[in-house]
């Protein structure tokens, strides 16, 4: 199998390498990819949409349908992870730690539930005390990462950034919280129900903004028809519509990243895990 695979790979690679002979040179401004549609995008996008970041303009306006279904794909991935892995069965054994003394209690009867609070703490079987340096550094870093993520989302129209990138950064800050502390700390702060609702709300914001354009007399995703609803300069209404859409994308991506992470590391139990 290995040898056969190697032969297949070599043949495919040789074929592709032979094909590169026909490709345009590195950085050629007259390559076929750069002479048809992209010139129109570059020269007219600012005039038509008032958004200097062309990537955002193309992503959220010219190719709005593509991005909408892309967000739906991300939502479906979160849903698939949840349905594949989520396990609502309670574990039989539980471990508690008496916080002042550090004594660990092993409760084998699943019906006996200790009240967790100041004195007792629900913990994993293979629990190790988390490192003070890592905890402190992450506690300092996480708010800044989150503010940076919000900045990336909010400035997606004017500088490199956008909903997908900002959402991933925000989601990774929450994942950092789970890694540096404990999965329980994250699950306690960010409830599973909230994550599920947010991932749906993100998609809904996108579709909602697109759908509001229709009763206002435009096509689906025609942001310019939102002008009566938005205060301020009507020239910027397309940029504002894109900002709203990007916020929806950011919310959905954040929630889905955390859902995927929590379900995979804890094998769907949301109790133990990294």
């Amino acid at each position: 199998m290995k040898f056969l695979g190697f032969i297949i790979v070599c043949l495919t690679g040789a074929l592709l390498l032979y094909g590169t002979g026909e490709f345009p040179g590195w950085g050629d401004p007259h390559s076929p990819a750069s002479i048809h549609l992209s010139n129109d995008y570059i020269e007219k996008a600012v005039e038509q949409t008032q958004v200097p970041n062309l990537v955002t303009a193309v992503l959220a306006d010219y190719r709005g349908f593509d991005t909408m279904f892309e967000t739906a794909v991300v939502f479906c991935a979160g849903l698939a992870c949840f349905l594949l892995l989520r396990d609502f069965k309670e574990k039989k054994e539980r471990f508690y730690r008496h916080t002042p003394t550090g004594v660990i209690l092993h409760v084998k009867d699943s019906k006996k539930v200790l009240k967790t609070g100041k004195e007792f703490e629900h913990m994993d079987k293979d629990w190790v005390p988390s490192d003070l340096i890592i905890k402190t550094i992450c506690r300092i870093l996480i708010p800044f990462i989150q503010i940076y993520a919000l900045y990336v989302v909010a400035h997606g129209d004017f500088s490199p950034g956008g909903g997908f990138q900002g959402g991933v950064i925000f989601g990774s800050s929450l994942i950092l919280l789970a890694i540096s502390y404990d999965l329980k700390v994250l699950v306690k702060r960010v409830k599973e129900k909230i994550l599920g609702i947010f991932s749906a709300i993100g998609v809904l914001i996108y579709v909602g903004i697109a759908a509001i354009c229709m009763p206002m007399g435009g096509n689906f995703l025609d942001y310019s028809k939102l002008a009566p609803l938005v205060p301020g300069d009507p020239h910027h209404v397309r940029a504002l519509g894109m900002l709203g859409v990007e916020i929806g994308v950011g919310i959905a991506v954040t929630a889905v990243m955390v859902i995927i992470y929590i379900n995979i590391v804890s094998e769907g139990r949301h109790e133990e895990g990294l």
């Binding site: 695979g5 190697f6 297949i8 790979v9 070599c10 495919t12 690679g13 592709l16 390498l17 590169t20 490709f23 040179g25 590195w26 950085g27 050629d28 401004p29 990819a33 750069s34 549609l37 992209s38 995008y41 570059i42 020269e43 996008a45 600012v46 005039e47 200097p52 970041n53 062309l54 990537v55 193309v58 992503l59 190719r63 991005t67 892309e70 794909v73 991300v74 479906c76 991935a77 979160g78 698939a80 992870c81 594949l84 892995l85 004017f158 500088s159 490199p160 997908f164 990138q165 991933v168 300069d233 020239h235 991506v253 889905v256 990243m257 995927i260 379900n263 995979i264 094998e267 769907g268």
Partner: protein, 138 residues
């Protein structure tokens, strides 16, 4: 021989991506462990992403953010030349492709976790043996 060498030097970016892509394809075909197959799939996707981004590049051009266009309506009085900005379209396509690759990777990991929960292994040959032993239904 010199012909081939000049061809490689002229198109070296495509050669790198093809080699990277073939590493990923080989991992997907020949590796025994499911996680290693997933890593191969990610390498394959990365090669395609790099390929698209390099298509969008133009010599002597800057990133696709129009300069001095932040001011408002009178800012686009200056004429914008398409040759000054690299092609935004491959960037848009790859931006969404990266997110979808993360999402598919998450689903693939979830499936791998389920496989491990049921068969206690991720090696393909052992999995095949256990499938024969246990049968399709437990």
């Amino acid at each position: 021989m010199t012909d081939l060498l000049t061809l490689i030097v002229a198109k070296y970016n495509y050669w790198l991506y093809v080699i990277l892509m073939m590493i990923g394809l080989y991992a997907m075909i020949a590796k025994n462990n499911l996680i290693k197959k997933l890593v191969g799939m990610n390498i394959f996707q990365t090669a395609i992403i790099l390929f698209y981004v390099s298509i969008g590049y133009k010599r002597d051009a800057t990133i696709p953010i129009i300069q001095n266009a932040h001011g408002g309506n009178d800012a686009h009085a200056a004429v914008i030349h398409a040759a000054d900005y690299i092609n935004p379209l491959p960037h848009v396509l790859m931006l969404t492709a990266i997110v979808v690759s993360v999402a598919t990777f998450g689903v693939a990991m979830a499936l791998a976790v389920r496989v491990y929960q049921r068969y206690q292994t991720l090696e393909e040959d052992e999995l095949r043996m256990r499938l024969v032993d246990i049968g399709p239904e437990k």
